[in-house]
Symmetry: C2
């Protein structure tokens, strides 16, 4: 298919859904067609040829505004591409628009709906990215995760979401909310596509080419929060573990429970402390244009003492090392991605309680959709590993995807 | 002094020197006066009242262009303040302009000259920031360090430069060249002023108020590179150690030499790998507007293999832990900041060989000016510590500053 045909098909699909889905903060049909014509006429080909890409609206783009889900930045034109976006374009990915983010990738929900059921949330903060990939509006989309903003929307929308290890992808040109947590990743329909996409953004060939599916050593992690999870989600986790074991994977319980709650609290403290500092411009000089919930969250965050923040960093180092040591013998930990199916949109974007600790640790995390829940909405499982073990995690995910069919 | 008087005096001083010094990439007299009038008329006071601030031209500013020392970004208006700049303004610091950076804070030198001798370099990459503080054009200036871009210019210009621990100050709105190395810090005339300044940017009251000068435990570090240093710089290091010991400090040799060269090489590999990815937009889409040396550097950096990068990250973890363990019993390591006096401008901005390893480790580093060399240019010493030990390092620097007079 030519880039022009790809662009036409894609735009038709986006335009069909957009009034109901609200996945895009910016869409410029003429610009997309012009870019497609350029790719075709110059005969350009690259690793992302044939892919359409939605870019979360907190990445700078040279040719589109970057609104960050906030009236403070509405229409702001950064006049440069974020490094990750430039890597996508250099690989001949066709950028189709800016996907809706919650306000500064924080908690207040955006207008985007879940393509599987419009009454439900697509998750957040990468709401538009997950929704459009699930709806076929783009084959790939960028995301960022500070607590659970890639894994949760992927789970609710029934697609693959992959947050690589911390700092694998350059954040140059990204609006940051947490210096030590924000991680760029992506959404796709399959594990191999998401690995290709993240590999391109990272400039990491080793995340793509030697990707061999193999029966992994998996640790099954029944988090202390499992009581908060829906029974069908817990049952699905155990079904997947059973299928994996039957197909030849080693599946053992993860021998570590103690540090979980301390790490969960540490993540919240670090995210709050760093968030109020990252948004100093908005909070100090455009306070009235922040939503009331975000203003309240930041105001409370501003009360965190240096001692509490430093203690949280200490907890991350010490308890994090303890949890990481328990994970080390395994290719990946198999665990819950979210509480269960997507919640109703009016209740928010869901809770990142199953993601915070893994983001804090800084290792790779991947959501694999595996089934549907009682409401007919997608559910699945999460694979996580210690920092730097992305190739092993991707191999395990690829294998699991194939044995699950 | 009113803000208006401060602005007038400062602008007069800047304008007197600017034709020779080239410290500013952007200066708008009317905007500075308007801001000063606003501070006075609204009776605004904050921790940085009475201070004038120059902002390195890789920090986004809402009211001034951010050129990054490159024609690619000349005149670009980001329409928002970097978080650190917003923190400065919220503390009532009077921003006087954008100070010259080398091209993307990399190695090719800028036009800025050393105020102590115009034939010499002010160092880089925070060239304009260091030069204007030394010349009295601003009492404070922001800087960033990836290899030695704060400590070296501070040394060459004879002022205090302080790079806090990695990630202490939010990089939201900063043009990045290295995800895991770039660190925001500042320049001032005294230790207490630089601590106040960095404390404000970080939102870290504990870096400012409990700052108590006390006789520290110092490790004297004679780097394997000392043979590359000028004899007068080495002599000054030993003189300072002697004075400190006489005044009551414990001064012992640092018992670690082995890991140095491995760490030095690892820093170069990491900076190159991350740099070529951070500058993807510029390299892929504005290649012709990069200077020839930077283009050549990035092209060579692009050849680094994932294996080499991952090995360098491994070296940082393992040898870094070894060096950090040796540093742990001390409040600070006393070492060289630079080879010696500022080099002639036509030879470049000097070599960051005495800074790379400490930046790689991620701990605080501070330059203290202590004397003049044979050419009459400033020299001094560097204090470094392990990550998070900023308060102890600042206390040691304050004490050393006072005993040296």
């Amino acid at each position: 298919m030519s880039a022009i045909e790809l662009a036409e098909t894609t735009l038709m699909r986006i335009e069909r859904d957009e009034d109901a889905l609200h996945a895009y903060a910016w869409l410029d049909r003429d610009a997309v067609m012009a870019e497609a014509r350029r790719l075709d006429s110059q005969g350009l080909h690259g690793p992302l040829s044939g892919h359409t890409v939605a870019v979360k609206d907190i990445f700078d783009t040279a040719d589109m505004p970057t609104g960050c889900g906030s009236p403070i930045h509405a229409g702001r034109r950064p006049a440069k591409d974020a490094a990750a976006v430039a890597a996508i374009r250099a690989a001949c990915g066709l950028v189709v628009g800016k996907s809706v983010t919650t306000e500064f990738a924080q908690f207040p929900p955006a207008a985007t709906r879940n393509p599987h059921n419009l009454a439900h949330s697509p998750g957040g903060s990468s709401s538009g990215s997950a929704a459009t990939v699930a709806a076929g509006g783009a084959s790939l989309a960028t995301g960022t995760q500070t607590a659970g903003s890639i894994i949760r929307p992927a789970a609710f929308c029934g697609i693959v979401g992959y947050k690589p290890s911390f700092a694998v992808i350059s954040r140059n040109g990204l609006s940051l909310i947490s210096e030590t947590l924000d991680t760029i990743g992506g959404f796709a329909r399959t594990v191999s596509e998401v690995a290709l996409f993240v590999g391109v953004m990272a400039g990491r060939g080793d995340l793509v080419t030697p990707l061999v599916p193999r029966a992994p050593r998996l640790a099954l992690w029944e988090t202390p929060d499992e009581g908060d999870a829906d029974p069908h989600a817990v049952a699905e986790l155990h079904r997947v573990a059973q299928v994996a074991a039957s197909a030849g994977a080693v599946v053992e319980p993860l021998p570590a429970a103690a540090p979980w709650n301390g790490l969960l609290e540490a993540q919240k403290v670090i995210m709050a402390w760093e968030g109020v500092r990252a948004l100093a411009f908005e909070r100090c000089f455009h306070r009235d244009l922040l939503s009331a919930p975000l203003r309240a969250y930041l105001d409370e965050a501003a009360l965190t003492s240096p001692e509490a923040y430093l203690a949280a960093l200490h907890t991350r180092r010490t308890l994090g090392a303890e949890l990481s040591a328990a994970m080390e013998p395994f290719d990946a930990v198999l665990t819950l991605s979210a509480r269960g199916e997507a919640p109703l949109a009016e209740t928010g974007t869901g809770d990142p309680q199953f993601n915070r600790v893994w983001t804090l640790l800084g290792g790779p995390a991947l959501h694999l959709p595996t089934a549907r829940g009682p409401l007919g909405l997608p559910i699945g499982v999460q694979l996580v590993a210690t920092p730097g073990r992305d190739p092993g995690l991707l191999g395990a995910a690829l294998w699991l995807e194939s044995v699950l069919g």
